[in-house]
Symmetry: C2
Subunit: 209 residues, 2 copies
């Protein structure tokens, strides 16, 4: 069904999902590539190409069923299963992620945090346990996460990733400001906040030319 999907398309999938969900909430049941394109800031052509990466979902002369298309993308992204997340680093960012209700609603459940700071340990954030980092390996077997979130200082990121790989973890959501090295059968997605802020700065700087 779905062969090779380019990175460009993959990066747009969440936006498709977001817009289709909104449309559905607004009671829209059907939409053309023209309308969806206007809404998302893409050409109708690109919308059709993107959607056809996964197979025929439209009907000529009519458009796309909002609900069906949304559900399909939902499934493609693997959002029909639950994910268990462990957050390593219980600083402000780690805790913000742990407690953001939006993730849980989408099936991403934080099951525990880890930290090296003895002050933070035990001090559960809204019923979530914070364990000492040294118990990480030991507890992973029980916790059974499929995703680990790196919300720790950059110096500790690579060694932690290596350890997690040994422990069988294959999905990493990295907030540390480093480019990590990892085996081909591991997936790492970065959230480089400083990079994002620097891009904003660049664009503000080169605005008025």
């Amino acid at each position: 069904m779905s062969g090779y999907v380019s990175d460009a398309v993959i990066r747009r999938l969440p936006a498709y999902y977001r817009h289709l969900r909104e449309l559905e909430n607004d009671g829209v049941t059907q939409i053309s590539s023209q309308e969806l394109g206007e809404r998302m800031g893409l050409t109708p052509s690109q919308i059709r190409q993107d959607i056809n990466t996964f197979g025929g979902f439209g009907r000529q002369g009519y458009g796309y069923q909002v609900h069906d298309l949304k559900e399909h993308i939902h499934k493609i992204m693997g959002l029909d299963r639950d994910h268990r997340m462990v957050i390593i680093g219980a600083g402000r960012i780690g805790q913000a992620i742990a407690n953001y209700a939006g993730f849980a609603v989408q099936g991403f459940h934080t099951v525990a945090l880890f930290d090296i700071d003895p002050v933070k340990i035990g001090q559960s954030t809204e019923a979530l346990p914070i364990y000492p980092a040294e118990e990480l390996l030991l507890r992973l077997a029980d916790l059974q996460p499929d995703i680990c979130v790196l919300a720790l200082p950059k110096e500790a990121a690579q060694q932690t990733l290596d350890l997690l790989y040994q422990a069988g973890i294959r999905g990493i959501w990295n907030f540390a400001p480093v480019d990590l090295h990892f085996p081909r059968d591991m997936v790492v997605v970065n959230v480089h906040l400083s990079d994002s802020l620097q891009i904003l700065s660049y664009q503000m700087n080169h605005q008025k030319e």
Copy 2:
């Protein structure tokens, strides 16, 4: 000096900066496109093309001066000035950003937060004031931020952006999970955390095929 710079290059600038800074810290003073490429996962060709977007920084037979190149990119990104940030929404994400020391070090200083929740108001996070959202417009003149951070529910994001535009703000760092509409002379950079997590999910799902 620098004419049109493609988005692809702009998105790589922070990574260049990051790697050059690391190299400098490690005492490396000179580097070839070959070596830098290996380190960053880019081809030497691409490194040279990217750097030459801004003008000749290398020396044939030798390579690039790490310090000079780093400084130049620093300047290009506008990191040689200070930025004043106001954060709208003093929830966990807003507060995490407000207190992340890494931004201040780079010249991005949070000067205040705003929130609609009376419980949060006044309750300063490490010496930062939290003002009621209704005073936003009133206080912006004094606060003089150039960047506003949207860390509020998606329902309030668009109307807040519109108001900020009216108040003369031209830089928005948006954490709300929506695609905002904005005038051409405004710069908006998104951090769509859910999108990022969904991409991770997609890639884990399509890993073993």
